[in-house]
């Protein structure tokens, strides 16, 4: 009996750090059926080992890769599913609902909800905050001919994520407050 209790306690203790590590991690299906229908698909699954390996091979002399290196060093996973179709709404919304249900779990907050009737575009940005720190980021972007789901796990340093914006041409987004904050200086002017 005592041995059994001891083993149970050990199992729980071992499970706790694992739980902490997987917080922020969504179960993203491979979506093979969608990939077959798509004219183009991007599937990236980088767990902590592969992410670490990829991070090591980034070229610090390239500005965008140097910025990416600063971001990825504290991350434990990056997962992307992006599908592009030749016709409108070739993907059923049910495919996204499973993911949205996971994002209704405690800890996750939707910090940006963008709906554009004109472009028929829906974009939601979610953040998981645990112990006062951002541990998970999720983006669901639904456009007529493209569906993209992004999940980033780890110690998400929002400041470093902001640094990426200049390199990738993304304007600043005040993710902390959930408000948009245009800053014209960071947007490169059209040539």
């Amino acid at each position: 009996m005592n041995a059994r209790i001891g083993l149970t306690l050990i199992a729980l203790l071992l499970a706790a750090p694992a739980c902490a590590q997987t917080r922020g991690l969504l179960k993203l299906p491979e979506m093979a059926a969608l990939a077959d229908k798509a004219s183009e698909s991007v599937t990236v699954t980088l767990d902590s080992n592969l992410l670490g390996l990829g991070c090591r091979f980034l070229n610090a002399e390239e500005p965008d890769e140097a910025a990416a290196k600063k971001v990825c060093q504290s991350l434990t996973g990056i997962y992307v599913r992006k599908f592009t179709f030749d016709t409108d709404y070739a993907y059923p919304k049910a495919d996204i609902e499973g993911i949205r249900r996971q994002l209704a779990a405690p800890g996750w907050s939707r910090i940006v909800e963008a709906r554009s009737k004109k472009e028929s575009t829906d974009v939601d940005v979610y953040l998981l905050v645990d112990g006062g720190k951002a541990r998970g980021l999720a983006v669901i972007a639904s456009e007529p001919r493209e569906l993209a789901i992004v999940n980033i796990v780890g110690n998400i340093d929002l400041e470093k994520l902001h640094d990426l914006e200049g390199q990738f041409g993304v304007p600043e987004l005040q993710i902390e407050s959930g408000k948009k904050a245009p800053k014209e200086a960071s947007k490169p002017k059209a040539q």
Partner: protein, 188 residues
């Protein structure tokens, strides 16, 4: 032979190359060799490396002929592969430093050669740019591609391409002024 005139003269060139016609494939090479070689040369700063790269690119084209839809697509495909391969090679640290231009390297002069010294300096400054920025500038100013095509070729957001162009031009202009090869008025 440029792709546009070839499209009128040789509508079946691609089809013939796909069917194993060596003369047709050789014609495709000649049509694009200057572009592919130059992308390699501007990126790697060495003729021998540029020729190795160009040869690799055409060998890849040979293997992928079935996926090439048109002569225009072939041009896009070759520029894309050449630029990305050159970036990969640079990143392997084989050619990280901008090597000085070789003695006697031909820089094709315009009919009236205005300023070969400035041309040489511009090429040297290009060689100092980081690989991705350098590739953007080569595709923009050597290949005369628009921002959207460069973004597609290098798998970059359009805004990043624009950023690279803006920052690279600013850096190069500043160094030209610093070297007193240009005045601020000449740049307006």
């Amino acid at each position: 032979m440029n792709p546009e005139s070839a499209q009128g003269e040789e509508p079946l060139l691609l089809e013939r190359a796909r069917r194993g016609d060596e003369a047709a494939f050789a014609a495709l090479i000649r049509m694009h060799q200057a572009s592919v070689f130059s992308i390699g040369f501007r990126m790697l700063n060495r003729r021998d490396a540029a020729e190795d790269l160009a040869q690799d690119v055409f060998l890849q084209l040979y293997r992928k002929l079935d996926s090439i839809e048109s002569l225009e697509h072939a041009g896009f495909w070759l520029r894309r592969v050449a630029a990305n391969l050159a970036i990969d090679w640079l990143r392997r640290a084989a050619y990280t430093r901008a090597a000085p231009l070789e003695d006697g390297v031909e820089i094709p002069a315009p009919p009236t050669c205005e300023d070969p010294l400035m041309d040489r300096e511009l090429v040297r400054l290009l060689g100092e740019l980081a690989p991705a920025a350098r590739a953007v500038m080569v595709l923009r100013y050597q290949e005369d591609r628009d921002v959207a095509e460069i973004a597609a070729a290098l798998d970059m957001p359009v805004n990043t391409v624009k950023s690279h162009i803006k920052r690279s031009l600013t850096a190069m202009r500043g160094k030209m002024i610093g070297a007193q090869l240009l005045t601020a008025e000449e740049l307006s």
